[in-house]
Symmetry: C4
Subunit: 286 residues, 4 copies
């Protein structure tokens, strides 16, 4: 198992080309947020916007559109029950994020199936939260795309069939290989299983143990893979690392970290990373 | 009567265990906020989130869901008239907060009865505002749970039958003992009646005399008892103390303190408390 | 004509009594904000809350409740077409503010009549914006109460019958005397006509020439008269002075002042005033 | 082609006259923001308000009114399908901004036609985004007014018929002359085609490549032309320059710039410009 370092940030977060426009940095379509869990998809969307994706659209329950725009006028809105519009937004996306606050009822299921029916091999598809639970419960096939799962241990148990106490690196890797997908297993010292390697995140803080932290991570993975699509695999690792590096910094002066604070800190954090030369590590920048 | 000191903060707000997740810090379900008083339950929910509870759900009138998520995407929403969903959220909670902005009409009453029918002895149940008024007016029995009342003097008169001018420590304690509950009697120098002891809060400022201050306190008690559930009795005292300690600090530069400012200051304040060693008191940290 | 000085702030903004509660600082009921002009009543309400009124209720179009609570959870909401509820809120108020964003159609008129039918001599009644226009147009009698009008010059023309070019101090005073009300005539160097005296505001900045500035002033007058009800006449003067004093300070670094910034600056500004001793003027505090 | 310099800011952003009121600084009516793209018109409106226009009204889908007022109580709301009300708001405007988030369906088209039917030669009319696309697709005639188009290259292709790869200064100028309008062609080093001259913007940063950046520019052009209406042509240039100058400053410490940050920075930025004397350039002020 290879330990991630801040080196991954330097490899991924490089200066933007001078002659670029919003299309250069990809489109993210996020799908989730039922009537009860609207905050989850708002937090994920905020992460995608603040990470620097070119265009972000949030397909969610219509009761959430007002809060979405109050928090984040930069995101566009779609009604997630409008299957035609959602299909078209999926087709247009560089990265799709499905699951945050989606819920697990019959409507959630139909929405998930619609998303999965419309992805393609050219896209990054981040599958999070209740989308994972629904897949496992309903026996839904993995969709087309560069698939990235972001389960916590219980969700991984449901998807992989490996019980929480028995989730060894070896067993996890075996399932990952069958899936042919990247698995970001969220836990104390999160593990990332890719086709090539197993990575471990050596940083993080218990101040992150707050509802919405995972939604924010899913949105960051969506944002990073869209923006840095030519190095999408590294972008996943960078998103995971940045999420905890920012949290650690905030936790120096806070007992807990509110998830939206990580997103709001992204533009400044990423600028510092962009400026890092090889002799200077993040620790020096505080 | 024992005077509370900042010692209570040091006893309660200790470093989080390294290997923890959001489940470690409990779930809070808050019930309140009718069409007119939505701000009350939003302020209480903000306090619970910022105090560091693991998961926070707000059951309120549906007209408040948009403002809730605009202020606080970290909280989940439920329609407080959906009695089945509310029952299930009560069952799942470490701490229940009922009352802020609940109102006192027939719908409020049905909601309160539903909450009370679903609590258990393993839970902290904070009863605030109109929930106290309704109990007194309708003769509703105290529910199961570790019960914490947070009345102001008029609400205490309604619940205890002791008129405001006659609320002596002795009389209050006698009623508290009959109730077998903790009573946080909000007044100039708030008093806390527990099974063991009577505490007095020696701090506080008239800058706190602003609508919503009590809702914020109820939410903090909910958050602290969920997060520090293994020392729930002390957590009540710590919440009361922290609420006024933060207000005093803000009031050094403000004529009044807006309740939401106390909540937003919690993560930083709690970090300072966590770092305090025995030789240093809060005063030194300003 | 007497020039107002910062002395008025020292006379009005004195330290709060130690043993006080939110009832000590009065209740403000604001009525206004139709579907189109919701921002006006939100800005007025924010001013009343930030000025330090004990309890603030905003009676407005129901389409505004969500934005009200997103901006200001400290305010309570009422539907301004619910005449019974509005009547009851008027009865309970120390100060009533009617007019910001009320509009001038048939519904606005019915709401205004309902407000006027329910005020009493014991209350401060601030009449602003379209409420003044409606009174003049419909020939509505002045209601009971300590009446304070806050017209700009065109609204004053409508109410007084004096054309803008002819609004001399003498003529204005004569109408004021007939009305028996305080008139805050908003203009370059605002004039305040009271039963005893004519005051002129010597401060202010063109950076205040922004929509919503008058709504904020009306809310501040409502907040100050409720909070400092025992010196309500001086409270009007203090509100007018503070409004421009804060704006001048903000305008040192901004080309324009957004009205909500004045409200948000109130708690800090008022604290500085409270601390002023007689030898120090505001200018020294920057 | 003439390079724009910060000189244009000094010429346009001069001290406000002492005796001015909100009417002095013009009225802006913005039309756009369907159910899906509400954020676009909110961002444009925020730019117009923060730029210092006297009164700002936002005609948009009614689902956006709540988020509009949550973000910006200073703006007034109108339902953009209420053609009579929109017509009246267009008549009253100094500057009209149409297009941000308007969409391109049948309803969008009817709204656009209503706007175009009601402008006059005395007004600045900023035509942006889908309004340009609709004009080209439906063959709609240019309306009356001082017309300012703000297309990106694809929108310009649709309007001018010149393909993106072939958009030379000469060809663009020829079409501009036929239109008799100002064209702000948004691209790497934005070009502005006026009746007299072609200007090039030498500043800007890839950190601006974020959705909503153009909506913000359209709103700024609306705000500047209303506020500085007596020098409206220069006001367009100043808005374009200020938009990128602020972005460059923010981008010194951020990897990307969120569009709303530019608007929020306007009051402070414009104050600095107002204070600049001829020997000092913007660079000195950082």
């Amino acid at each position: 198992m290879e330990k991630l370092t801040d080196q991954i940030l330097k490899e991924v977060i490089t200066p933007r080309p001078e002659n670029s426009f919003k299309g250069t940095f990809g489109k993210v379509t996020l799908v989730g947020g039922n009537r009860n869990f609207g905050g989850a998809i708002i937090m994920a969307s905020m992460a995608a916007v603040c990470a620097g994706a070119g265009l972000v659209t949030t397909a969610t329950d219509e009761s959430n559109s007002s809060a979405l725009h109050s928090q984040l006028p930069e995101a566009m809105f779609a009604d997630f029950t409008n299957s035609e519009q959602v299909a078209s937004l999926i087709h247009a996306a560089t990265s799709v994020v499905v699951g945050p606050g989606l819920g697990d009822d019959e409507i959630s299921l139909q929405i998930l199936k619609n998303v999965f029916a419309n992805t393609s091999d050219q896209q990054n598809v981040i599958i999070d939260g209740s989308a994972i639970t629904l897949m496992a419960r309903e026996g839904i096939d993995q969709p087309l795309g560069n698939i990235i799962y972001t389960p916590h241990e219980m969700e991984w148990q449901r998807l992989s069939g490996i019980k929480i106490g028995e989730q060894t690196a070896e067993k996890n890797k075996a399932v990952q290989e069958k899936l042919g997908a990247t698995v970001v297993l969220k836990k104390h010292h999160t593990e990332i299983y890719t086709n090539d390697q197993i990575y471990q995140l050596p940083i993080g803080t218990p101040a992150q143990a707050v509802g919405g932290m995972g939604d924010t991570l899913a949105g960051m993975v969506g944002g990073f893979t869209a923006e840095f699509n030519d190095k999408a695999d590294k972008a996943v690792l960078a998103a995971v690392y940045a999420h905890s590096a920012i949290a650690e910094k905030i936790a120096e002066s806070q007992y807990i970290v509110l998830p939206h604070q990580i997103s709001r800190a992204l533009p400044t954090f990423m600028k510092k990373m962009e400026k890092l030369d090889d002799d200077h590590h993040i620790g020096f920048l505080n």
